[in-house]
């Protein structure tokens, strides 16, 4: 990898790679959020809670399989499905009757759900810090141009585009994808041609929450799994969705990239005020393109 350092300084290369791995998690969670926002018109504040549940379930699954390699892969595969199942139950039980309500009410509904889920997680798993073990081949760093990059972060950099590709295929090449895109723009018309809009919504909601759970599961080995992780992420996810364009998955990708990279590169320039950069980027985008960078479905 040495030739890369001749193209650009090692610190910048490192920061770019790390920023990309950060963007992956942000993208996965934000894409789920933007799907739900775009098709169902529901601002899902409980999305952060589902991300947290994904991480905790990953912990539980990993422990059940005795940790290590099996534990990790089983967790990463099973946790998103578990979260999708939970969300489906909630959607059918509560949301399905309320889609005609105003956005504000739906926002508050998901907020109350977030409050409930937060306390439920505490009841089930308690307050202790948890962690998920990584398989041996993911542990430790790889030297990239003389600076260490954790192997797992590089894995995430690959996963991100894979998920994006998967979503694109789903949206454009499958029947459900095309129907969902139509429903996002005009749900009445879709209903008029005889498609059960309610089930379309259920599916999209489940997929969106699946993504939240996946984000939580993927982040579980490198992060402290704790109560309150829902709060930190939900704000960032919403900001990304807004700057990307409501309902636009590519927008979510773009937003996540901007967020992740401005932060990791900003640190090089001004490490004392690293906090400021992503928020400054958001405010800038919103002032010049208030409806988001890419086309929204609203």
């Amino acid at each position: 990898m040495e030739f890369l350092s001749s193209i650009c300084p090692p610190e910048i290369l490192c920061q770019i790679l790390v920023g990309l791995s950060r963007a992956t998690i942000l993208f996965i969670v934000a894409s789920g959020l933007t799907l739900i926002l775009g098709v169902l018109r529901v601002p899902n504040i409980a999305h952060g809670s589902l991300y947290m549940i994904g991480a905790f379930i990953a912990f539980g699954v990993s422990k059940w399989f005795g940790g290590g390699t099996t534990g990790f892969w089983m967790a990463v595969v099973l946790a998103p499905f578990a979260v999708a199942l939970i969300s489906l139950v909630v959607e059918r039980g509560i949301f399905a009757r309320l889609y005609e309500r105003e956005h504000l009410m739906l926002l508050l509904l998901t907020f109350s759900l977030a409050l409930i889920l937060g306390d439920l997680v505490k009841m089930v798993w308690g307050g202790e810090y948890r962690t998920v073990q990584l398989p041996g081949y993911f542990k430790g760093p790889i030297p990239v141009a003389s600076l260490p990059i954790p192997i797992y972060n590089l894995f995430l950099v690959v996963v991100g585009p894979a998920v994006a590709l998967g979503l694109w295929l789903l949206a454009n090449k499958t029947k459900i994808g095309k129907i969902s895109r139509a429903a996002a723009v005009d749900r009445e018309m879709v209903g008029a041609v005889g498609i059960n809009v309610s089930w379309v919504f259920a599916t999209v909601f489940a997929i969106g929450c699946f993504l939240a759970g996946m984000g939580g599961a993927l982040v579980s080995p490198i992060v402290n799994i704790t109560l309150g992780m829902d709060h930190t992420l939900i704000m960032e996810a919403f900001l990304i969705v807004i700057i990307g364009g409501l309902g636009n998955v590519w927008g979510a990708l773009l937003g996540a990239l901007i967020f992740g990279l401005t932060q990791s590169l900003g640190i090089l320039i001004w490490p004392q005020f690293g906090i400021v950069f992503p928020y400054a980027a958001v405010v800038t985008v919103l002032i010049f393109r208030p409806t988001g960078l890419l086309k929204s479905t609203w």
């Binding site: 508050l108 509904l109 807004i242």
Partner: protein
């Protein structure tokens, strides 16, 4: 559609006021404090409703003005050493100023986008207060802010809060019933038509925002009077969400709904927490039930019931 507040029941309001005046004579200190806290929490909700319920503006970061009002007062008193009465004026004026600046930036946008930009800007204010600990005390906040002896005690702060809150509510009621208020509601219902009949939509909205910001700042000052402290949490977006919930819980289409919502939230929090540490769960459940079954909020529902009763007794006239 704005329901006529109370209508036949408007005699309830002065009675309530008299009751509130004599409560301190019979209640223990704690309940006096609790009532004062309800007013302090309800006033931001009421001022939010000015722009949200009556104006249809998605004010997502109202707490910013509440917090700035509180910090303005606290900093004037502690850092500049001014008399508290001056601090009480500085707070709301600063809040109104911030509202003007933020409003001017955001008012070009509508609905959700307005809300999100406001959250971003408001968060910037929060970040400044949080980080500048040499001046604002950072995340430790500021404590022990001195109050004039007259209003320093529990009862004293209660009466001060009651009087100021009542004055603000009266002012808000007058504004809502004025031609300005009607124009604002017209803009909420149909901005295009309002523009067409010559109403300057953006200007009206901006004025409403500044007024709402001012009253939120007053509420912030009252918090300092009652609790003698300020915390950066007062500027955080989760508080804005709570204020929004109070509005909707009580009913944002009624005048006093938000105050009722605030009373419910504070009471719930205070009493549920004596029983269980899972009081957010209880809060979430109750909130969800209200949203599902009482979409007009609690007061909205009560009003509808009264109206039904009224129609029934007057022989079914609609």
């Amino acid at each position: 559609m704005i329901k006529n507040i109370h209508g036949k029941e408007s005699w309830l309001v002065p009675i309530l006021f008299v009751l509130l005046l004599i409560f301190p004579l019979v209640l223990t200190r704690f309940y006096i404090y609790l009532l004062a806290l309800i007013f302090v929490s309800g006033l931001p909700a009421m001022s939010l409703n000015l722009v949200l319920g009556y104006g249809g503006i998605y004010q997502f970061h109202h707490a910013a003005f509440y917090g700035v009002g509180a910090y303005g007062a606290a900093l004037t008193i502690t850092k500049l050493g001014c008399s508290p009465w001056i601090g009480f004026l500085v707070g709301p004026l600063l809040a109104a100023l911030l509202s003007l600046i933020m409003g001017a930036i955001c008012v070009r946008l509508s609905k959700l986008y307005f809300g999100m930009l406001q959250i971003s800007l408001g968060s910037l204010v929060w970040a400044i207060v949080y980080r500048w600990y040499s001046f604002t005390g950072g995340d430790d906040g500021i404590h022990g802010v001195l109050m004039p002896d007259l209003i320093a005690s529990t009862t004293g702060s209660y009466y001060f809060t009651l009087l100021v809150t009542t004055a603000c509510l009266v002012a808000m009621y007058v504004i809502v019933k004025s031609p300005f208020g009607s124009a604002l509601q017209g803009i909420r219902d149909n901005p295009v038509r309002s523009e067409a009949v010559g109403v300057n939509v953006k200007l009206h909205q901006l004025v409403a925002l500044v007024v709402a910001g001012f009253f939120a700042g007053v509420a912030g000052v009252l918090f300092v009077v009652v609790d003698n402290s300020v915390f950066p949490d007062m500027l955080f977006w989760t508080l804005s969400l709570e204020i929004l919930i109070m509005c909707l819980l009580g009913g944002c289409l009624t005048f006093l709904g938000p105050m009722l919502g605030a009373a419910m939230m504070v009471a719930l929090r205070t009493f549920a927490s004596t029983f269980t540490e899972y009081w957010t769960l209880i809060q979430g459940i109750i909130l969800m039930l209200v949203i599902i079954f009482l979409p007009e909020g609690v007061l909205g529902y009560v009003n509808a019931k009264f109206k039904q009763l009224g129609d029934a007794t007057s022989g079914g006239k609609t």
